[in-house]
Structures are given as C-alpha cells and as structure tokens.
C-alpha cells in the first residue's frame, strides 16, 4: 500500500500548479464564474496548456500527451478546477474514447487538435425524451451512402455554443428490437449547415442549449465505432477506466471561507459554536473526495478499476459539495441570500451562485439515482428486476 504520488506525478503536479498560478488569471476566473461557457480568455488558457502537452497527459506522446496514467489526469483536473479554470474539457474526454474506439484516421485527425486545445467538443446525448434513459435518443441519422443525414433535437448540450464539434448520439435503426442496438455515435462539425443552437438558462444563470438538426450532412468518416454500435462506444467511455473526481473548486471556496471566518469576521464562529464542527466535517469530506478520486485513478492505472469506482466518486463528490453549499449558506445567515452586486453581499455573492447551481450537480452527467443503480447492479450484482 502506498498513498504517495510518484516523483513523476509530483513533478507534473508542481508543473501544472505553477503554470496555472501564472496563467489562470482573474479574467479566466471571471469567465468560469459567469457560467456562460469557455470565453476567449479560457480558450487562450486551454491553448497554452495544449502547447505544453498538459491537456491530455494520459495520451501517447504522438497525439500530444505524455503517456502518463489516470493519476495525472486527476491531478490536472484538480489543479484546473482549484484555480477555477474552465471545466469540464469535453474534448479531452471524447479524445479518451477515440483512443479506445476510433480509427487511425480519426485519431490522427482529432487527437492532436484536441491536445493542442484547438478543438473543443460538446456532449450530444440528451434529448427531451432521453435523459437518464440515454438509449431512447431519437435524433435520426439516415444512411445515405457515404454520409448520414441528420434530423432531430438535443437539449441541455451545455458546451454546444463554444465548441467546434458535437459528440452526437444518433438513431440509425428506429426498428431495432432493443433500442440501444440502433444507435450510432457521430462527430459533427458544429459549423455544418442546418444546425441551430438556441440558448437556455438555468436558475443559477448558467448557459446551456437546445440544438436543432435539420437535414445536416455528416460524412461516414466521422462515425465512431460501428453503425448501430454506438452503445458499445458509450460503454467504453463510461466503464473503460476513469480518472476520479476531485475537490477542486470546492476546496478553493472552502479556503476562501476559512480566511473569511478566521480573519475578516471572527465573530461569526465565536458566536456560533456549531460552525467549527461543521467546517471540520466539510474539510474531512473534501479530503475524502480527493482520496476516493485518486484511489479510482490509481486502480485504473493498475488495470483494476471496478464498475463502481467512478459512480462512487461521482455521488460522494457531488453530494458532499452540495452539503458544503448548504452549510455555507447557513453560516452566512441572512447575508448569504444577497446576490452579487447587492450592497452587503459577502464575498461578491459567489457562494450564493454556487448554492443556486448546486441542484444541477446531482442531476447532470448521470443523476445520483442512476449512479446508485450502476453501483447496485454492476457493482454489487444486485438483481435488476
């Protein structure tokens, strides 16, 4: 047993940290906190990371990576989110899948650009009638020889308005007996004619999108995996080993709050003896998020990932972070309800924004209920029916 990072991992951590200390500026942070997507400063940062082969450390060097493991990926994610940089970087996530499922042409066409930070991807799974039940997607891709013609709609594709490509799950066989066997994964240039992106806003002010496809032509060369084999592509993406979660931005906010409580407003904790206990509890949970995440990565690197490592990390991380938001709001009392721009708003209302955004965390990228279903069935082997 060994809880230490290797010298290579420590060196990578130091390198990423020092780089972000310098280059993840207030302007980048402002874009992250705006919740409006990757703006120009974020894109510039991503390209700078790309130029240093920092974006996809797991990939082979020939594709712009460093040939490191999932540990390096988790270290990178922690540093990037701690510095409140742009996240998630779905291009890198899709690249991980292409490494496993893509053709040589596709890897050569996309991976270097993704690794350089020049190609960003938007996830294109969800539809109005296909949320947790992603196999129910209806966006139709009709086989037309050397291309597909696409018609349909996606929703909550949050990255679509600032990405170059759409990682699109489509239906190629509407009459498949089992619906998940009629799916095909495509990569679509978002500048293709026929695509309309319409903004949606969450109650926290986060920008997401509806994306409409009307007779959009996509070359077959952009099909990932087999026609009607899209489900296998998703499964490798989800279960092919993964980096675990990290406390990232929550840890930064925790430290900000500690400074506020110890230096700026010591009377708050002095008058409320429950606060030190609550903060200690949160500190323990943030630490757990990190070690659970690193453990998932370490075991993935050893080829020993279990089907439940990712989901455990996911639910523990997001549910603890939500709890942290609730505790912060209670600590701030009536002042916690003041939004940015209001007189008396503490810490620029950043905690209120986090609180407003927090219900989303246990819904997106696999709801808490679905994560538990995966743990129960694939992890514990509990029967489905």
């Amino acid at each position: 047993m060994d809880f230490e990072l290797t010298p290579e991992e420590k060196a990578f951590q130091k390198e990423v940290r020092e780089f972000l200390d310098e280059h993840c500026t207030e302007k980048v942070v402002a874009e992250t906190e705006s919740m409006l997507g990757e703006g120009p400063y974020s894109k510039e940062l991503i390209r700078k990371m790309g130029a240093r082969n920092m974006l996809a450390p797991r990939w082979p060097e020939e594709y712009g990576g460093r040939g490191m493991g999932f540990m390096a990926e988790t270290i990178k994610v922690h540093e990037l989110t701690y510095h409140r940089g742009p996240f998630p970087l779905d291009g890198v996530e899709i690249g991980n899948t292409l490494l496993m499922c893509g053709t040589e042409e596709q890897k050569n066409k996309f991976l270097p650009g993704i690794a350089r930070g020049e190609i960003e991807f938007a996830l294109g799974y969800t539809e109005p009638n296909a949320g947790s039940d992603v196999a129910s997607v209806q966006l139709r891709a009709v086989d037309n020889g050397d291309e597909f013609i696409l018609n349909g709609q996606k929703i909550y594709n949050t990255e679509a308005h600032f990405s170059e490509y759409h990682w699109l799950l489509t239906r190629t066989d509407p009459s498949a007996e089992k619906k998940h066997r009629g799916l095909t994964m495509l990569m679509v240039d978002l500048k293709s004619p026929g695509i309309t992106i319409r903004p949606l806003v969450t109650s926290a002010g986060l920008r997401t999108n509806e994306v409409f496809y009307e007779d959009v032509h996509v070359p077959k060369a952009n099909m990932v995996g087999e026609k009607n084999g899209g489900w296998a592509v998703i499964m490798s993406a989800l279960y092919g080993g993964m980096g675990g979660g990290s406390s990232g931005a929550s840890r930064f906010h925790f430290e900000t709050l500690m400074k506020y409580l110890l230096e700026e407003k010591p009377e708050i904790a002095a008058e409320n003896p429950w606060i030190p206990d609550a903060m200690a509890d949160i500190y323990i949970k943030l630490h757990l998020i990190d070690v659970i995440g690193l453990r998932a990565s370490a075991m993935s690197d050893l080829g020993l990932a279990t089907p439940y490592d990712g989901p455990v990390s996911h639910i523990f991380g997001n549910e603890s972070r939500r709890q942290f938001c609730n505790v912060v709001m209670q600590i701030l009392g009536p002042y916690g309800q003041l939004a940015e721009g209001s007189k008396y708003a503490p810490l620029r209302g950043v905690f209120l924004r986090q609180y407003m955004d927090s219900p989303r965390w246990t819904i997106v990228h696999g709801s808490s209920e679905i994560q538990r279903l995966v743990i129960a069935t694939r992890g514990l082997g509990l029967p489905r029916k």
């Binding site: 947790s132 129910s136 949606l200 969450t202 109650s203 209120l352 709801s367 279903l373």
Partner: protein
C-alpha cells in the same frame, strides 16, 4: 382532537385558491420579481376589497372579525402560488402588532388604512448581526422635546421600498440591565426626512431593504406600547411571524409535491413512468412526510396562538422544523424532475429560492432549536 377545517374555513380556502389561480399566475410572479415595487397595485386593491388585509382584525375597524388561524389558511394559499407583495409585511409585521399594543387613537388612525389597503406597513428590526434578538438592537432613539430622534441602520427590512410606515425598533435606554429592557417600538411615517432606503438584491428577489435612519424625528405619541417595553411587542410579533411564515411555507411545499407526483407518473424513461422506480417513489414519500409533518406542526402553533394558549415553544418547534423541511422538499422535487426543473423558466426555481428565504426569515432552524434547547433546560448562550 379534530384537524378538519370548519365549513367557513373551507370556503375561505377554496375561494382564495380560485382567486389566486386566476389572478396570480406565474407570469405575474416573475414580473414582480423584476418590478421595482414588487407588487401589483391593482391586485393589492382587489385583495383589499375581498377583505383579506382585514381578515383577522375586529369589525369595528372594518375588519372581518376572523382569527389568526383563518389568516394562516389564507397565507398557505399565498405560499402555494408565491404571492408577491407586501401583504405579509403589512398585516403580520404592521397591523397585528398595532392591534396588540396600540392605543385606541393609534388603532383608529392606522388599522382602517391597513384594512382598506391604503397603507403599507413593515417592521424595521434586524441590524448588522442579521439576528432577531434584543441584544442586536443598536439603533438609538433619543428624546428631543416632544419627539424622539432615531439613528441607526436596519437591514433585511421586507418591502421597505414601498412601505408607508415602519415599525422601527430602537434602543431608548442603553443602561438597562437586560438587552430586552430599554427597547421601544416607534410608528414612523416613511416620508419623514432622514430615511433612505436601498433594495438589496436577494435570492428570492423579494424586496428586502437597507433602511437608514438619520436624525429621524418621530412624535412621542407614535410610541407603540410602552416606552422601554417594546421588546414585549416584538417578541410576540416575531413568534407570530415565524408561525405565519411556516403556514405560508406549507403552501409552497404542497405545491412542489403537487407538481412532482403527476410529473413522475407521466415522465417515461426506460419505457415506464419514472414513478415506478423505487428511488423516485421514496423521494415522493419523503416529500409527503415533510409536507404533512410541517402542516401539522405549523397549524398546531397557529391554533394555539389563535386560541389564546401558550405558543412560544410550538412556534420555535414549527419554525425549526419547517425551515429545513421546505428545502428538503424542493431538493427532492428537483431531483425527481431532473434537468427540466433547473431551467429558470420552470416553476421549481421559484420555490427553491423562496424556500431559502423562508428558512432565514424570523430565525433559521438552528436559532429556534436553541430556543427549544433552553426550554428543555440546557444552558445555551
């Protein structure tokens, strides 16, 4: 024991629900969140004409002669639709304290205008600490001939931007041994020189304000109750407001449950309504447990107050419970709806925001559990 409403109360509830579903649609709620005043003067007049402001006031002032319990039923219906505007402030924070402690002259002067909808009232109590305790009252009122002069900054004053009158709580004797002694409540005309109001930007987009009192002259006859005995009035006002807020919250929680159960019966994923899944069923059940427990504890407190029985402990227990329960219900309602309910245009965010605001108003769960702990015999600071 009988928890049923009387026939009269059922009629009140039904008529209020019908009126509000017609006159207080979501579009109005959202419009008022962005509106400078935060309420519709036309709707205000309509509810005054219906007798809502005057419901729990004696007929001699133009009121309906009904009880606090009847008012609680009305508040629940308002909570159900996120009713915007200064009704709660005017009636609970202004009118009822004047009814409790006002002189005959004061009652004759102010209550008819409250009841007719002519005057909007609110309570200017909390200060920098954000707490609802006597020790936090630092605003000062010093005697000056036939007046008192008030100086201080009040925060989180609900509807301070539209109030015609403030019940301003100030310290008139800072040498008193206990914090509760030496506090006086003044009825202050909002047009008095020296008052400036700033609307704070809050999560619920309700109009909570900073109200600055700078050398504000108030005639001595505007003291509500007795000089230096104002905390007696305020203690009762806060407890009653806490109960009222609980009843309003029960309406909101019920609305969330009422939107979630039909949704999970209709929303199909994996070829079945998601209400088939045990996880979702348990969410709905947990919501129901919170709604029903909140309803009974809130109404028990309201009934006790309404019937002249001791109610302080029940008020604390109710507010402690409901403050957290409302948020749990919204969290589970959101989780059951999934992505659709985190979009701003969905109804759920309206309740999410208001649940947080309701938790904070008149003391959060922890502050009320402290009260209960003291009642249990613990020495609590």
């Amino acid at each position: 024991m009988d928890v049923r409403l009387s026939e009269e109360q059922e009629i009140l509830r039904k008529s209020a629900r019908d009126f509000l579903s017609d006159k207080c649609p979501r579009t109005l709620v959202r419009e008022m969140e962005q509106d400078e005043k935060g309420y519709s003067p036309q709707l205000w007049k309509e509810i005054a004409d219906l007798g809502w402001m005057g419901l729990a006031f004696p007929e001699e002032y133009g009121g309906g002669g009904m009880s606090f319990l009847d008012l609680a039923i009305l508040l629940e219906e308002m909570g159900r639709v996120c009713f915007p505007g200064p009704f709660f402030s005017t009636v609970i924070l202004g009118g009822l304290p004047i009814l409790d402690a006002g002189s005959d002259t004061q009652k004759k002067k102010y209550l008819p205008d409250i009841i007719s909808g002519k005057a909007i009232f609110t309570l200017a109590l909390t200060e920098a600490s954000g707490k609802y305790d006597a020790a936090s009252v630092k605003a000062k009122a010093t005697p000056d001939g036939s007046n008192y002069v008030i100086n201080g900054i009040k925060l989180f004053v609900p509807d301070g931007n539209v109030a015609d009158y403030f019940l301003c709580v100030a310290r008139t004797d800072d040498k008193a041994k206990k914090a509760e002694d030496g506090i006086t409540v003044f009825i202050v005309d909002a047009k008095t020189s020296g008052i400036s109001t700033t609307v704070l930007k809050t999560i619920a987009r309700d109009k909570q304000c900073e109200v600055v009192f700078k050398d504000v002259k108030v005639p001595k006859e505007n003291i509500l109750g007795e000089l230096n005995r104002g905390w007696d009035v305020i203690q009762k006002t806060i407890e009653r407001a806490a109960i009222a807020k609980c009843c309003e919250s029960v309406g909101g929680m019920q609305a969330v449950l009422d939107m979630t159960v039909p949704y999970v019966k209709e929303r199909v994923q994996f070829d079945v309504p998601i209400g088939v899944f045990q996880a979702i069923q348990h969410h709905c059940v947990n919501m129901l447990v919170d709604v029903e427990s909140s309803r009974v504890i809130a109404y028990e407190a309201a009934w006790k107050l309404s019937n002249g029985l001791p109610y302080s402990r029940e008020a604390a227990m109710a507010k402690a419970w409901v403050s957290d329960a409302y948020q749990r219900v919204v969290a589970l309602g959101t989780q059951s709806h999934g992505g659709v309910s985190i979009i701003e245009d969905h109804d759920m965010p309206l309740y999410f925001r208001r649940a947080k605001a309701a938790e904070i108003a008149f003391g959060d769960a922890r502050s009320h559990r402290k009260t209960v702990a003291r009642e249990l015999g613990f020495k609590v600071a």
